[in-house]
């Protein structure tokens, strides 16, 4: 996985609450056997009209948000289906950070496996960042995972907190399967004990 460094980018505002993973990547684009190339389908039902033309009202179709790496989002972002195609599509589109008052559990976990940083902040803080993101070309924010700080367009700093293990993995681009395999002995020991006490498993 690519190491997560400091991201400096325009931030796009998407205040809609309960954005579900069907909305992030609709089912018609799940028929792939690859992880790559889904960026063009991110938010496709919102981004494009039925004839395939762009919906100019959709935030990520507007300048300067087309190249946003940061998304300021509404409450309960990523609810619904467990499809990891959602973070695959968002990262392939170019997003690296999503900031919201809350995330659905499965989506939240999936983000970390793909170098996408989900940041949970109180509603009023997100509201302020949402306003900042509305400033178009001036909506430049910096997200520093090492320091766990977001610097807004006016220089104001907001702190956030990420689980230390997940932060460590993101900063170093670590493959957690490799880390777990180092504990293979403990797994084997667990299996032996379980086999003895619950032979039906």
């Amino acid at each position: 996985m690519e190491k997560f460094t400091t991201i400096r980018s325009v931030a796009a505002p998407m205040p809609t609450i309960n954005v579900d993973t069907d909305m992030i990547i609709p089912q018609q684009h799940l028929k792939t056997i690859k992880r790559t190339g889904l960026g063009k389908f991110a938010f496709s039902n919102l981004r494009y009209h039925a004839d395939g033309s762009e919906n100019e009202d959709f935030v990520l179709n507007k300048e300067p948000y087309r190249t946003a790496q940061i998304l300021i989002a509404g409450d309960n972002f990523g609810c619904g289906s467990s499809r990891e195609h959602a973070p695959w599509a968002l990262t392939d589109f170019g997003l690296r950070v999503i900031i919201a008052p809350s995330f659905a559990d499965i989506f939240f976990g999936n983000c970390f496996k793909n170098g996408l940083l989900p940041i949970t902040l109180p509603q009023e803080t997100v509201d302020k960042l949402m306003d900042d993101a509305g400033r178009g070309a001036n909506a430049i924010m910096t997200v520093d995972l090492e320091k766990q700080e977001i610097t807004g367009p006016d220089g104001g700093v907001v702190s956030f907190s990420i689980d230390p293990f997940r932060r460590h993995c993101l900063l170093n681009g670590l493959d957690d399967i490799g880390l777990t395999l180092e504990k293979a002995d403990k797994i084997s020991k667990f299996e032996e004990t379980q086999k003895a006490t619950q032979p039906w498993l």
Partner: protein, 476 residues
């Protein structure tokens, strides 16, 4: 690990008994007993194993079954029209062969939706940890298991290590006491709970469902209930195992047999929440207060009793909620104040991992019997597995349904998520027994109203969203 002397919840007990290793930062390595895979979320995980030269740690802990994009038409033995679906189906089969996973092919009598097949085969057992790359894995919690959906990277992690790195969730209890009213089902309980706590109400928690109304549910009903725990935002939902659970499992192909079964039951009986165990959040509902439920919007929390009217965004104080409601009404093509029973429907879908078990088909057949699907309505019944289909046919339910004008199909996920040919056209309105009414869920532009199988069957015969209760009384 927590102090095992203090009272623990069912979730605590299953968690504690699966900790392989605990890091200082609170992350735990949790052993996974059972892993179910399907064609949509597994190919990239197998590819990851190949690229890193890793193997499956325990293939015998896995089963695979195609469900998401299999056709449900009778000609599926000879053709899968969509070449991309065909590739996913072939990829699953090839991967299972290469890695040695027990694979149930599309044309096998046992094939069906992963969350219906697992319990049917006795693969789902109390006290186990069960995962699948599908959010509705929560269904298996009906057996007193800790079951939850995972992403594809985690699928790969489980394949390679038989574990997951997790943090302990919080405990939440949802208690439903009393007796359900006439015509009110497990689906209505599930929807009423989501209406009460919202789609983020369970975020960060595992829900244990307790109370006399939950105990009163059959295993099928408990599966319907736990299935939609994810729609309440919970990591998992569970119901402690009891005599109904044990009776359901006895004799299933992959369930323990003979002395081992007795030994297992003795263990399963200990898997109850202790008196005085702490819940971080508790919600209490009365079964008598629950009427048949229908969703009107584009989130499962947009739900009301069928006797209600479409809500007015102007009545909402919260700005975000108001904006979401305005958006939902526009998408759904509904006017505030319209009685739900005056909303006409064009399609009916009875199926999905929520409601495609034998009881659900029976429930629909009771309403269909002697009636006709309304003009201009297309109604689909998609059994959850080949075994459900066979049992329904043995009971003559298929005859009742087809005589009434319902289309009787082959098993699969079908129109719940419209990955196969079964989908809504833009603006088409559907009475559906599935679990999600998200924008575009049943096809781009399609409009979904979630409800129970009896309610969906009632909508099919009247052409409108309908309170099924008077029809059931008529039926006697």
């Amino acid at each position: 690990m927590s102090d095992t002397a203090s009272p623990r919840t069912l979730y605590d007990k299953i968690w504690d008994s699966h900790v392989v290793d605990q890091q200082d930062d609170g992350n735990c390595l949790i052993y996974i007993d059972r892993h179910i895979i399907h064609e949509v979320t597994s190919p990239q995980a197998f590819e990851g194993l190949r690229m890193t030269g890793r193997k499956l740690r325990r293939p015998s802990a896995m089963i695979a079954v195609p469900d998401h994009n299999v056709p449900t038409t009778s000609d599926r033995a000879t053709r899968v029209d969509d070449p991309q679906s065909q590739i996913q189906l072939e990829t699953l089969e090839a991967n299972c062969k290469e890695f040695g996973v027990d694979y149930i092919p599309m044309l096998d009598a046992r094939q069906g939706i992963v969350h219906i097949v697992g319990p049917e085969q006795g693969f789902t057992l109390p006290g186990t940890t069960i995962v699948c790359g599908d959010s509705h894995t929560s269904t298996h919690g009906a057996f007193g298991a800790l079951a939850f959906g995972i992403g594809t990277s985690e699928v790969e992690h489980v394949m390679a290590t038989q574990t997951l790195i997790l943090r302990r969730s919080k405990n939440m209890r949802v208690d439903v006491s009393g007796e359900l009213g006439f015509g009110v089902t497990a689906k209505d309980i599930a929807l009423a709970i989501i209406g009460a706590i919202g789609t983020a109400g369970g975020t960060g928690h595992v829900i244990e469902y307790t109370g006399s109304a939950i105990r009163g549910l059959s295993m099928e009903g408990r599966m319907t209930l736990c299935n939609m725990a994810i729609e309440a935002g919970a990591r998992a939902g569970m119901v402690a195992a009891d005599e109904k659970t044990f009776a359901y499992l006895q004799g299933r192909p992959k369930a323990p047999k003979g002395n081992t079964y007795e030994q297992a039951v003795a263990h399963w009986k200990t898997l109850q929440t202790d008196e005085g165990a702490h819940f971080d959040k508790e919600v209490f509902l009365k079964a008598e207060d629950i009427a048949p439920q229908v969703t009107w919007g584009t989130s499962p929390q947009d739900v009301l009793a069928v006797t209600d009217v479409v809500p007015n965004p102007e009545d909402m104080d919260d700005g975000n909620r108001k904006a979401a409601t305005e958006r939902a009404l526009k998408y759904m093509g509904l006017e505030a104040g319209t009685p739900l029973v005056e909303i006409p429907i064009q399609k009916v879908f009875i199926g999905s991992c929520t409601n495609a078990r034998i009881e659900d088909i029976r429930e629909a057949a009771v309403i269909a019997k002697g009636r006709q699907v309304a003009d201009g309505v297309e109604a689909l019944v998609v059994p959850g597995s080949g075994l459900v289909k066979a049992q329904a046919e043995e009971e003559g339910l298929d005859k009742i349904l087809t005589a009434a004008g319902f289309d009787w199909r082959e098993p699969g996920c079908s129109m719940c998520l419209a990955m196969n040919a079964d989908k809504l056209q833009p603006q088409e309105r559907c009475a559906s027994t599935s679990n999600r009414n998200f924008e575009g869920r049943q096809g781009p532009g399609g409009r979904t109203h979630l409800m129970s199988p009896a309610m969906a069957a009632a909508a099919a015969v009247t052409g409108y969203i309908t309170d099924v209760r008077p029809m059931m009384k008529e039926q006697g």
